[in-house]
């Protein structure tokens, strides 16, 4: 097991990667990416039982992760690169022409680590359920993880999937909801309120847990608790409280940084708040993908 301090150091570096990717691309979604950096780090560096070496699409014999809120691609790309799926320097190509790092994650260009495209919201949970059913048919007892945003719970398909997973007792599935309370146009409560979210998931037949997504120790505790509850006849959901933009002072407490890249001055300011723990990825202009 990686120690807590090491995971925190990785998460801090991942946050630097997010700032630098969105800055160099002059676009992208830093807010939600920053908020979820601890979760992604814990998942890929501690929790997922995953195959090392060559990426295999069908994921037989390993845990799988599906990202439904594809716009937070910078955090996923950083973690994938830093856990060995592709070269770190390739982060330089984020959102540029001829890149495998599309604005929203895609399989089309063959980026290792990605199993389905996401970006149009509300669809990832259904795909994760299908992958879990495939594991069940294959006699593979590994788990399937999925992350959705909270705003995307406004999509009807999420609740179709929620009903179905409970009915089929898909109990080797752990959904995490990034419950940061904000979306592009403002607070969830001002756009369309999600109401009593824990009660909703419970009523749909799910095992409901909560954790603080910006406290590494609590993320590890929450993910372990969720894993303990698998195999008991119910799908599991973790409602993960995060702050969009965490921990950059000028990015928190607002929905403004959902989909805006930091300029040079803002980038410098943000990076000054994040220690360079593992070394920044070398930014390579015109990086060529092999």
């Amino acid at each position: 097991m990686a120690d807590l301090d090491q995971l925190r150091r990785i998460a801090t570096q991942v946050r630097r990667d997010i700032i630098r990717q969105t800055h160099f691309a002059a676009s992208g979604h830093p807010g939600g990416s920053l908020g979820c950096a601890d979760f992604f780090t814990a998942l890929y560096f501690e929790v997922l039982q995953r195959r090392h070496g060559q990426f295999v699409m069908d994921g037989k014999g390993e845990d799988l992760f599906f990202l439904s809120n594809g716009h937070i691609s910078p955090v996923w790309y950083s973690v994938l690169a830093r856990s060995g799926y592709f070269p770190l320097e390739e982060l330089s190509t984020f959102r540029k022409i001829n890149s495998r790092l599309q604005g929203h994650p895609a399989t089309h260009e063959g980026l290792p680590g990605i199993r389905v495209a996401s970006g149009s919201l509300g669809q990832g949970l259904s795909v994760a359920i299908g992958a879990a059913l495939s594991k069940r048919l294959n006699g593979d007892d590994h788990l399937v993880y999925c992350l959705t945003g909270d705003g995307e719970l406004q999509e009807g398909q999420i609740w179709e999937a929620a009903l179905f997973a409970a009915h089929k007792k898909v109990d080797h599935l752990i959904l995490t909801v990034d419950w940061n309370g904000v979306q592009i146009d403002g607070r969830n409560d001002d756009v369309v309120s999600l109401g009593d979210l824990p009660a909703k998931w419970k009523a749909f037949g799910w095992e409901v847990l909560q954790m603080n997504g910006n406290d590494m120790q609590d993320v590890l505790r929450g993910l372990a608790a969720a894993k303990e509850r698998t195999g008991a006849g119910k799908p599991v959901v973790i409602l993960m409280k995060t702050q969009m933009g965490f921990p950059i002072d000028f990015m928190m407490g607002t929905h403004k940084w959902h989909g805006v890249a930091p300029n040079a001055e803002q980038t410098e300011n943000a990076l000054s708040q994040l220690e360079e723990t593992l070394g920044d990825y070398p930014y390579v202009e015109n990086y060529q993908t092999n």
Binding site: M57, D58, G59, K60, F66, A106, T107, H108, R115, V116, A117, S118, G119, S120, G122, Q123, G124, L125, S126, V127, A128, I129, G130, A131, A132, L133, S134, K135, L137, N138, G156, Q157, E160, A161, L163, F164, H167, K168
Partner: protein
């Protein structure tokens, strides 16, 4: 040659899907089936009886069905989704686009009750735009078989083709006449050779074209009749070979003019062999309740409409 076409019975194309699904389930362990609360309509019961663990009742939630199918395909399964054509396409277009087409998933979207021959349920269910929507998706194969035997053969064949497929079939009982015609994805079938006009037909309208060709033969017009069961990829060679000879074309399909097979053929010919063309199909309209025969007649897709289109195009030759 048309007098040699052997009608071996009458069944719905959806029966061909049901029987083909059972057969392909026996041939491939990885085939799984999903249905959104329309088991009887899609004729999936025999598959379920034999392979209960490989069937997923999704309930009335087509969007979720497409996503679950994409997930099953990711794990190496070959999912066949089943619901009405309207709910297989327009209702879930974005789900299919993102998680199946763009993601390159090996999902077979199997769609019954396409077109006006659905009949009495009316325009809410009679989709006439689906070929257009599905052929526009990069990487999708689009197949519209014409009878029970061809639908069964196509249902089996698509498991061997890696990639997303749209398989379109229908509700009414229809003559079976292709039992001796081999089916290969992307390979047009020459039903009758002729010299004066090429008719390219797909789906239920192939039989209407057979009837039309017989009528036209009686008045001395020699029809070359070709069945385009695979609309994408189009068998360009077969089409160009025929048009080279006849120099005029009629297309026939149970679909809007816009987005249909006729439009695909027109694009090919405009680029490579500009040719007078007439189209049999629906002219920018919704359908309505009625019997299949009444609806084909009212919306311009009867045998008489095919004959009239041939007569028009011959004058433009």
């Amino acid at each position: 040659m048309l007098d040699q076409i052997e009608v071996t019975g009458k069944k719905a194309t959806r029966d061909g899907f049901g029987d083909g699904l059972l057969e392909v389930g026996r041939q491939h362990d990885q085939v799984v089936a999903l249905c959104a609360d329309l088991l009887g309509s899609l004729k999936m019961n025999d598959f379920i009886k034999e392979f209960p663990d490989r069937f997923f009742q999704m309930g009335i939630s087509e969007a979720n069905m497409m996503g679950v199918a994409a997930g099953l395909a990711t794990g190496g399964k070959i999912p066949y989704t089943g619901t009405f054509a309207n709910f297989s396409t327009g209702r879930v277009y974005d789900q299919i686009r993102q998680t199946i087409a763009y993601s390159g998933k090996n999902v077979k979207v199997c769609a019954s009750h396409a077109g006006v021959t659905l009949g009495e349920d009316g325009a809410t269910h009679q989709i006439l735009e689906d070929i257009g929507m599905m052929k526009m998706l990069p990487g999708f194969t689009v197949i519209n078989p014409c009878d029970y035997a061809q639908t069964k053969a196509a249902t089996i064949a698509i498991a061997e083709h890696y990639g997303p497929v749209y398989l379109r079939f229908g509700r009414p009982s229809w003559p079976i006449f292709t039992e001796k015609m081999p089916f290969e994805i992307g390979k047009a079938i020459l039903i009758q050779e002729g010299a004066d006009v090429s008719i390219f037909a797909t789906g239920h309208l192939v039989w209407k074209a057979v009837e039309a060709a017989r009528e036209l033969a009686a008045s001395g017009i020699s029809v070359e009749l070709i069945n385009i069961h695979t609309i994408k990829p189009l068998d360009e060679e077969a089409i160009l070979d025929s048009v080279q000879k006849t120099r005029c074309v009629v297309t026939a399909e149970e679909h809007q003019f816009a987005g249909g097979m006729g439009e695909s053929i027109a694009r090919l010919l405009a680029r490579q062999m500009p040719t007078p063309m007439e189209f049999v199909g629906v002219d920018d309209s919704f359908g309505e309740s009625g019997t299949p025969g009444e609806l084909l007649d009212k919306y311009g897709m009867s045998t008489g409409h095919v004959v009239a289109a041939v007569q028009r195009v011959l004058k433009r030759k």
